[in-house]
Symmetry: C2
Amino acid sequence: MSNTPPTRIVLIEDNQEYRDVIKLALAEVEDLELEEKFGTCEIALRYLQDLSNKRPDIILLDLRLPGMLGLEAIPFIKDYSPKTKIIVLTLSDSESDVLNAISLGASGYLLKSATLDEIVSGIRAVQNGAATLDPSVAHFLLQKLKKHIPQNALGIELSQRELEILTLLGEGLVKKEIADQLGIGYTTVDTHVRHIYEKLQVRNAPSAVGKAYKLGLFNDE
Amino acid sequence: MSNTPPTRIVLIEDNQEYRDVIKLALAEVEDLELEEKFGTCEIALRYLQDLSNKRPDIILLDLRLPGMLGLEAIPFIKDYSPKTKIIVLTLSDSESDVLNAISLGASGYLLKSATLDEIVSGIRAVQNGAATLDPSVAHFLLQKLKKHIPQNALGIELSQRELEILTLLGEGLVKKEIADQLGIGYTTVDTHVRHIYEKLQVRNAPSAVGKAYKLGLFNDE
DNA sequence: TCCGTTATCCCGTATTCACGTGATACGCCT
DNA sequence: AGGCGTATCACGTGAATACGGGATAACGGA
């Protein structure tokens, strides 16, 4: 236990009080080490950019900061210190903040209403390659996901070739170009397209592409 | 505190040992009450169907059960007791189990590696209208979501009319049908479509539909 | 006041599509 | 041995598309 190096943490948070709360909380945990804390992204990024500093394992990142916002800083953090995992720790439970943080690659999203225990176990989870989400954020994401998970198993299955051709169609190639690219004849492509229409029960290419997206036929790769 | 009724919990789990562990754990928590525990879905569903029984607030549901699988039971639970929230509690972290559980409307997904504290706080979160996810499940879902969140803000914006027409195109209508449905002329539709192609930088309808999905232009409604 | 965006409408044409109606061949399952 | 799905190829035709090149009108910002 004691020979594994502690998890190195950097806190970016402008509120002095909350900063101190976190500092005291982490000080009590043996294998977590609060390396630095910063009040703005600008200063934090300068620290990360300095090659003489060791890279932290985890960054706890507030979003509403004076100057550069936390979300804006994420790409720079990823750039300067690619291996550092980011846990957003903020008051905001706005949908767009959550979605942006995720698409920018955050490994966790906690609210400041979280207990210190939850923050510590969140850090441990992320350090182990997992993720941590505030329950209310998780609820929001589950609702979001429910809509985006296609229930594809309606017996509709395209062959590999058909999916290939449909993909190219959706990318803008005309049948002749698809034939050339696949090294097959035009009429073959035409036949495949007809089969696709039958299976998807559509009558033309735009709706075939649309239905394929709705059914999630493109999801798997 | 003590005048709020306890959260009523039902456990569906075939492993005798784990069932007892949960029973003992919940017995120690004041505001949680393990109402019943069942070894199979069939028996549990019979209990839920019996109108003389009170409906539980939470069901902890294992997936790998003798007879009917946990996932199969979810729609029946939703039917017999719509207000009951379901937390999946299983060994399986298979992607399809997670996705199926979510699309069937589970409010939580915990693994049996979870500590009893995590299970209790998960129950509390769900009872409060939030959700609970095992960190490794959360990680998987975040990765999944990252792909599905489009970064639409590339300056590409269709007018309302254009989006309307593109939607209908993706549903399989030909330009003439779109014109009739919108009560405008064929040439007007044609012009709109040209503008759509310009904005999306494509040359035909299938790729316009494809690109719209990729950019998430259909996401907002 | 002028320009950009949006929405509406028109003509003509070469290209492409959708589809009816075929064919051959391979593998798999029964 | 026969059937089913897949992949390949072919011809012809009417329908639809993509696009060049126009136009008018309303609205709002520069």
